[in-house]
C-alpha cells in the first residue's frame, strides 16, 4: 500500500519524534522543521531532511503557516502532520494545506470550525442529543438587560453557578457564584476581564458540577462515515488546569457507563462529520451524570495510554485514515487490556508555583523495562529554554491491573534521572504514592486537596552521595577503575558495621 511519499512534520519535541518514527516504520520519508533554538534537537536528526523555519519564538517559526507550506511544497511533501499544539487545531491552516493540494493529517477545517469555540459546539451537541452542562446564553445585547436575563436563568439552573466567557479559555472571565446577591457584581467583573482578555465581554452561565472527573474518549473516524471509540482516559489529576497524570481505564467507569459515554462520543463526532483521530472531553459528576465539555480535534498528548490498552498505534492510524484507508476495526473488535498510566515530566519547579525551569540537561537516564515506555524529544546536552511547552517527556507504564501499573510507574519515576534542569518528578512521585491516588479517588481538585502542603524532598545528601562526590573528585571522572578494585568475595563488611571507622574524641 502506498500511503504518502513524504510527510512534513510541523512540530517539535517528543511528538515530532513520535511521528517521524511512525513514518519510518511505514516507509514514509519525513521533513522536520526547527527554529534556531532547536537546530540540534533530536527530531531534526531523525528526519530525512530538516529545515530551519525561523527564530525561536513560535510566532516566528512553528506558527508560521506560510513558511511551513512553502517548505512542504519545496521538499515534495504530499502530507502535513501537525502533531498537537501550535497549528494542530488551526482550521485556517488545515484549509490552507488542503488548498495547495496537500493532505492535512487530521480532521477537515469544517469539522474543526464546528467544534471550535464553546458555544457552537455546545449547540451542535445539544442537537445531536449529547448531554451538555446545563447553561444559558443571553439573548439580550445590552449588559443591564443581560444581567436581568441571566439572573432569572441562574434561578432556573440553580446555584452554585459558573460564569464563563464566550470567547474564553484558561479560566479567564470565569467566576463561581454561590450567593444570588453577588451575581450582578460577578457578571460585571467577568465581563471586564473577558473584554480585556479577548476583546469580547460576552459571558454565559453554566451549572457548576462539583468534584467532577475529567473523562475523555478517543475516537477514530474514517472518510466513509465509520466512527469508533477506543475507550476513555481519565485526566483528573491536573495542576493549574493542566493534566499531569492520565490513566485508562478510569476507576470510575462501569462497562455500562463506558458504553454510553462512548456512544455519546461517537455521536458527537458524527454530528460534525468528523474524520481522523479526535478526543471528546466530558465532565463526569459524582452522581454518574456526564456532560460534553469540548472536542479536541487532534492527537492528544496522552494518546499512548490508549495505545497501550487497545494495542492500536494512533499515529499510524491517523496517517492511514488521512491516506483514505477505511478503518480496519469494527467497534466490537476493540478490546481493552490491563491498565496504563502516563505521567508528564515537566521542566518546572513544583515548589515554586510550577514556574517553568530552564537549563542544560547534564545527565539523562530514562527507566527501561517491560511495560515502560518513554516518549521524549530531549537528549543529554540539550538546553531547555523558555520558548516552548515545558513538557520534556512522557512516562507511560502498562501493567495487568491498576495496582501493578501504579507500582511500575512509582518504580520508573524513581529511576528517571534528569539533571541540570528542575523537573516535577518528585511531585509526580508524591501523587503516585498518595493513599487517595492508590485508592483511585481522583478528581480535578485532587492536587489542591491532597498536595497543597507538598514540600520538595530534602536536599541533604546522604553519606553515600557525599562518598560518591568525593570519589569522583578524588579519581577524576573518567579514570578507569583501580587495579584490583574488585575484592574477590572477601569477608562481607556491612556498611553499618564499617560505618564508624575512627572517631575524633570530643573536646
Amino acid at each position: 500500500m502506498s500511503l504518502f511519499r513524504k510527510i512534513l512534520v510541523a512540530n517539535r519535541g517528543e511528538i515530532a519524534v513520535r511521528i517521524i518514527r511512525a513514518c519510518q516504520e511505514l516507509g514514509i520519508a519525513t521533513v522536520a522543521v526547527y527554529s534556531e533554538a532547536d537546530a540540534a534537537a533530536l527530531h531534526t536528526s531523525l528526519a530525512d531532511e530538516a529545515v530551519c523555519i525561523g527564530p525561536p519564538p513560535p510566532l516566528q517559526s512553528y506558527l508560521q503557516a506560510e513558511t511551513l507550506l512553502a517548505v512542504a511544497r519545496e521538499h515534495g511533501c504530499d502530507a502535513v502532520h501537525p502533531g498537537y499544539g501550535f497549528l494542530a487545531e488551526n482550521a485556517d491552516f488545515a484549509a490552507a494545506v488542503a488548498a495547495v493540494g496537500l493532505t492535512f493529517i487530521g480532521p477537515s477545517a469544517a469539522a474543526m470550525r464546528a467544534m471550535g469555540g464553546k458555544i457552537p459546539s455546545r449547540q451542535v451537541m445539544e442537537a445531536a442529543g449529547v448531554p451538555v452542562v446545563p447553561g444559558y446564553h443571553p439573548v439580550a445585547v445590552e449588559p443591564a438587560e443581560q444581567t436581568v436575563e441571566l439572573a432569572a436563568a441562574a434561578e432556573r439552573l440553580g446555584y452554585p453557578i459558573l460564569i464563563k466567557a464566550t470567547a474564553g479559555g484558561g479560566g479567564k472571565g470565569m467566576r463561581i457564584v454561590t450567593d444570588p446577591a453577588r451575581l450582578a457584581v460577578e457578571l460585571e467583573s467577568a465581563r471586564r476581564e473577558a473584554q480585556n482578555a479577548f476583546g469580547d465581554p460576552t459571558v454565559y452561565l453554566e451549572k457548576l458540577i462539583p468534584d467532577p472527573r475529567h473523562i475523555e474518549f478517543q475516537i477514530l473516524a474514517d472518510h466513509y462515515g465509520h466512527v469508533i471509540h477506543l475507550g476513555e482516559r481519565e485526566c483528573s489529576i491536573q495542576r493549574r488546569h493542566q493534566k499531569i497524570i492520565e490513566e485508562t481505564p478510569s476507576p470510575a467507569l462501569t462497562p455500562e457507563l463506558r458504553a454510553r459515554m462512548g456512544a455519546a462520543a461517537v455521536a458527537a463526532a458524527q454530528a460534525v462529520g468528523y474524520t481522523n483521530a479526535g478526543t471528546v472531553e466530558f465532565l463526569l459528576a459524582p452522581d454518574g451524570r456526564f456532560y460534553f465539555l469540548e472536542m479536541n480535534t487532534r492527537l492528544q498528548v496522552e494518546h499512548p495510554i490508549t495505545e497501550a490498552v487497545t494495542g492500536i498505534d494512533l499515529v499510524k492510524a491517523q496517517i492511514r485514515i488521512a491516506a483514505g484507508q477505511p478503518l480496519p476495526w469494527r467497534q466490537e473488535a476493540i478490546t481493552w487490556r490491563g491498565h496504563a498510566i502516563e505521567a508528564r515530566i515537566y521542566a518546572e519547579d513544583p515548589a515554586n508555583q510550577f514556574l517553568p525551569a530552564t537549563g542544560r540537561v547534564l545527565l539523562l537516564s530514562a527507566p527501561v523495562g517491560p511495560g515502560i515506555r518513554v516518549d521524549t524529544g530531549i537528549m543529554a546536552g540539550d538546553v531547555v529554554g523558555l520558548y516552548y511547552d515545558p513538557m520534556i517527556a512522557k512516562l507511560i507504564c502498562w501493567a495487568e491491573n491498576r495496582d501493578e501499573a501504579v507500582r511500575k510507574l512509582d518504580w520508573a519515576l524513581a529511576h528517571y534521572l534528569i539533571a541540570g534542569v528542575t523537573t516535577n518528578i518528585p511531585y509526580l512521585q508524591a501523587i503516585v504514592r498518595h493513599p487517595a491516588y492508590r485508592r483511585g479517588e481522583l478528581s480535578t481538585d485532587f492536587v489542591a486537596r491532597h498536595l497543597a502542603a507538598w514540600q520538595p524532598p530534602l536536599a541533604e545528601p546522604s553519606d553515600e552521595v557525599l562518598v560518591a562526590a568525593a570519589v569522583a573528585d578524588f579519581q577524576g571522572d573518567g579514570v578507569t577503575p583501580m587495579a584490583g578494585a574488585i575484592q574477590p568475595g572477601g569477608e562481607p563488611y556491612s556498611p553499618w558495621r564499617v560505618a564508624d571507622g575512627f572517631r575524633l574524641g570530643g573536646g
Binding site: L363, A459, A468, I486, E491, Y493, R497, G505
Partner: protein, 162 residues
C-alpha cells in the same frame, strides 16, 4: 585528600585515602562525629560511578556543572558546591581513639612532635587492611598511648593532639 561540599544550608568535609585495595572515606559534618566508610571503586567513568560499600553496589551518575559537583542516585539529583582541594582546618584539639578492634602496626610520632594536617600518626591493622590514622589538623602530639604490636579495642586512646 580532602574535599569540602556545601549545599542549601549544609556542608561537609570528606576525606579520601587509599586503604588496602580500596579507599577509606571519612565524612565530617559540623557538630557530628566523623563517619568512615570502606569503599571499593568498581567503575569510575565519564558519567558513571559504581562503588561497593559493604555489600551494596551503588550506581551513581556524576557530572560537573561549572564549579559544582553533581551527583545523582536514581532520580535524585544533588548539586554540591565546588569541591576545593585544601588542607583541613585545624579541628578542636583532642585525642584519636579507635572504635574498631585492631592491631597497632607502627607508631610514627612521639610526644612533643609538631605535626601538620594529614601527617600519619599511627598505622593500624583492622579488618585485614592497613589504616593510616592521620592528624586531622595542625598541632602538637602531647601523648602517645600505644606501641607497635598492641591490640587496641574500641574506645581506646591512640594519640593525643593539641
Amino acid at each position: 585528600m580532602e574535599f569540602r561540599y556545601a549545599w542549601g544550608d549544609g556542608e561537609a568535609t570528606v576525606q579520601v585515602q587509599a586503604a588496602g585495595d580500596g579507599l577509606w572515606v571519612t565524612i565530617r559534618r559540623p557538630g557530628q562525629e566523623p563517619v568512615g566508610y570502606r569503599v571499593m571503586v568498581l567503575r569510575c567513568e565519564a558519567e558513571r560511578l559504581i562503588l561497593r560499600m559493604g555489600e551494596r553496589h551503588l550506581l551513581f551518575h556524576v557530572a560537573r556543572d561549572g564549579k559544582a559537583r553533581v551527583v545523582a542516585q536514581g532520580a535524585r539529583v544533588f548539586r554540591l558546591e565546588p569541591p576545593t582541594l585544601r588542607e583541613a582546618r585545624p579541628p578542636a584539639a583532642g585525642d584519636l581513639t579507635a572504635v574498631m578492634p585492631g592491631k597497632v602496626l607502627d607508631v610514627l610520632v612521639q610526644p612533643g612532635q609538631r605535626v601538620d594536617a594529614g601527617t600519619p600518626l599511627v598505622i593500624l591493622e583492622a579488618m585485614k587492611m592497613e589504616l593510616r590514622i592521620t592528624a586531622p589538623g595542625d598541632g602538637v602530639v602531647t601523648a602517645v598511648f600505644v606501641r607497635a604490636g598492641d591490640v587496641v579495642n574500641p574506645g581506646q586512646k591512640l594519640v593525643e593532639l593539641h
